[in-house]
Assembly symmetry: C2
Homo-oligomer: 167 residues x 2
DNA sequence: TATTGTTATACTCTATAACTATA
DNA sequence: TATAGTTATAGAGTATAACAATA
């Protein structure tokens, strides 16, 4: 699952708070824990995300892709995996014959209930390592950042070069 | 610079604190801001990381790779870039003729001073969006997590399959 | 025999392009 | 003309393997 790559110690040996390292490290490690925990029920993070959103209401692949911040081509692969596992099915939309509704199977609903418990448990275990008051302030502060100064990604430095024509 | 991919709303619509989303989102956005800011002085995050560590004392590529949590092959590419920009040079180690010391040039030291200011500024701007007390608790809590429950990555679910023989 | 640094390359991931079928 | 979903594939990133020089 890769490395942190350079974010380790952006502010080394100077006793400056290294927010980059802290956020990258904790999110990276939490993600490995989440992936490992969800693997126990045969899900990836993406599959869990799609299952849960598809259970809420009738949604098309594009709608699910937007909710999970995935590309529509990534969604194809994810739905393929869910279908192969028998957890969801593609059904034609009643109102738009181009679109497919992702219908969660009974088995899919059972797995989703378990996977949601797993997600909550992993989060609880992480937060449980903190004093209650510290935990609440942490969540409030992260929410404030996520909604404010760290709401939207900066213009993409890694912008792709103009793509070569395929044919 | 990619997406968050499924981490968006691990705990949707349930008013559960979604630590995965918060950490992934904030670290992702901060990273885009950092990359964009460092691009102003022609550096990547990795180049900055290597420069700063190489300035502290005489270090070989392998030592710098470990400090920055990079693969040694990634370090080759990073040092190539630093050399091409005239910011660092490979020098033979006096004690081990296999190893190369990464020596920062004068220009490299100037750039590193500026890039460190940029890193600190980006961090200050992010943290500045928070009330002072909240900021301090956030850093304390993240440190506690990074040193405790979220210290080391979980066994890698994405383990590579056995590699095919090359020749 | 082990390690440093290098090159070459295989693997994974993601996104772009192009296509089909609808709208 | 535009959009939903699909397929194919380009491109970037990263890690593995093999190698030369040296320990």
């Amino acid at each position: 699952m890769g490395r942190l790559d350079g974010m380790t110690a952006m502010a080394p040996a100077r006793n400056e708070p290294d927010l980059s390292f802290l956020l990258d490290h904790t999110s990276h490690v939490l993600r490995t824990q989440m992936s490992a925990a969800l693997a126990e029920v045969g899900l990836t993070v993406r599959m869990h995300c799609v299952l849960v959103h598809a259970l809420e209401e009738e949604r098309t692949q594009i709608q699910l892709a937007e909710l999970g911040d995935m590309d529509k081509t990534t969604m194809v692969v994810t739905v393929d995996a869910l279908e192969k596992s028998g957890l969801a099915e593609r059904r034609p939309s009643a109102t738009d014959r181009r679109a497919r509704i992702i219908a969660v199977t009974e088995e899919g609903a059972r797995v989703a209930a378990r996977s949601q418990e797993i997600v909550d448990r992993v989060h609880r275990e992480a937060l449980g390592a903190l004093p209650k008051q510290e935990r609440e302030v942490l969540l409030r502060a992260l929410n404030r950042l996520a909604e404010g100064h760290l709401a939207v990604p900066s213009a993409d430095g890694t912008a792709r070069r103009a793509r070569q024509q395929v044919k």
